[in-house]
Amino acid sequence: MNTHTPGEASMARTVLVTGVSGHIGARVAIALTADPEIDRVIGVDTAPPPSPAGEDGAVLGRTEFVRVALRSPDLVQVIRDADVDTVVHLSLVSGPGGGRPAMKEHNVIGTMQLLAACQRSATVRRVVVRSTTAVYGSSPHAPAVFTEDTEPVEVSHSGYARDATEVETYVRGFARRRPDVTTTTLRFATFMGPGVDSPLTSYFSQPVLPTVLGFDPRLQFVHEDDAVEVLCRTAGADHPGVFNVAGDGVLLLSQCARRTGRPVIPMPSPAFRFVSGLARGARLVDFSPEQLALMSHGRAVDTTRLAAELGWRPKYSTAAAFDDFLRSRGGPGDLPRALVDWLADFVRPIS
């Protein structure tokens, strides 16, 4: 399938990317500026992008950065003045860094404001919203594999997943009121890759990995390259609807841990909660309540709808995405494998 609808090529195109100071946001903005059919990329965020010391070099490339909060009226101004035709909304905060009320204010109220601005705009024709597979929850009573139509068994009462659910509700409302605007909701699995900094990547970077005793959740990752690719494709052409985005296959937590080569400490669920509370206090790993549920019950989603719509599959499977992440962090520890090899050498001469 072609990324660009013909017919549109003559129009000057301007894309607005929110959450551009995040890793994925910055990469999407840079990728979009490289697209010859897009004239302007405007990146907005509450904080400026990190200093150019990173590997990205010129931070945001040709992207015009505007420092503005989603919930401020300035955003409406930006959309109106720049004749924005595509909005890529990536600004979803997953951890309550500045406290839960601020997080909710940013995620939910921010999205409402952004959509309100889009609804007023005469130029916006396409809205792409980042959501998360966390909206399905993690429960032993849910189907093993979620499709986009699966209703969550229990509605999440906690932070991130609840915010994402509410955001999706507003997006549906917006799509109803502006049927002429194409809206795409992308439910991403956990981002994984060399540049990703998330609670799960910091978890897997710990020297020992606490797990919940008696539970071995199924995890699914999407590689950052694939996430950027999907966002660019949906920003470039009309793909209306809700789509799960995840690498093929699943990894069990035990499998991930073995791939890291690090020791695992299984502990009863209350102890695990206590330890993750400590880790949170020490700013090591910031696990939210829905991530704690994920570490017990896991989650897997079906991605056939996205593959059919885009005619494209993620390049990295869940396992490949995780291995790429491990390579970037100095590769897996080799002790267990060496131990087996040593044992094999030790036993062979005897037999």
Binding site: P140, A144, G214, Q255, S269, V340, R348
Partner: protein, 316 residues
Amino acid sequence: MDDFQGRRTGESASERMGEGTDGSAGGSTDGSAGGSTADERLAELFAFLRRRVTGEYEVDEFGFDPELNEKVLLEALRPLYRRWFRTETLGLGNVPADRGALIVANHSGTLPVDALMLQVAVHDELGRPLRLLGAHLVYQLPVLGHLARKSGHTLACPEDADRLLRKGEVVGVFPEGFKGIGKPFSERYRLQRFGRGGFVASAIRAGVPIIPCTIVGAEEIYPKIGDIPALARLLGLPYLPITPLFPWLGPLGLLPLPSKWLIEFGEPIRTDEYAPEEADDPMVVFDLTDHVRETVQRQLDALRLRRGPAFPPIVL
């Protein structure tokens, strides 16, 4: 269990009651590989260990780990299947070799040992993994729920059933549920009510045959002669059984009695004559459910007669 290293003597199983419970011992390669030398077997064992410690193995989207299932979990069950219950299978040809099918079986025995033995039968005699649809309770429990997933099973819900059948898997279901497995010994071999027929709807939607399956022998392993409902409620269990050995003998009471087992797969009941939409027609679903239930009951009565006494005369 001391006995899966290849002792194949035909002595009566009742004479050696192994007591260990796990004994799985990291997937020792059984004689089934056939003809390989000790060196090759050792090399294979280390290759297996290497894959396991480095996490380089595949798990499907339901969490099914075929290697662990084959080499460790089933290996631990095989002595029970072969020696303890001396299980025999009939009608293996009725299960499709490479297409999806829904096996519908009777459920009994207080603990779901029949599910485990059916799993061994389908895997070892037919060479196909059995994907059972289990009760919510199983998936709430810490270790058990995740072991069940690793050995290929999942929660009994229409989404998972449809998905597995669409993938062409052999799916197994016990429509009696707790009513069947927890019924008193006096009602043995009497089929209980068949849930709401959700399994029939799934088979119609997928157009796969329903294989009526009967398991004779499980009824006698833990004869349930009483129940402690108050304690069961307290523990959140559907029932807390009293058997001739449990709770009187403590953990030893968990030893299943060595009844003789027969597992029969009956003539497939076709569902591809229905249009997939008819899965939403309750009348069609009710009628087919009744038909399946009657078939299983008839087959069960015949198979029970065929087996004769549950225990060899020496034991009783």
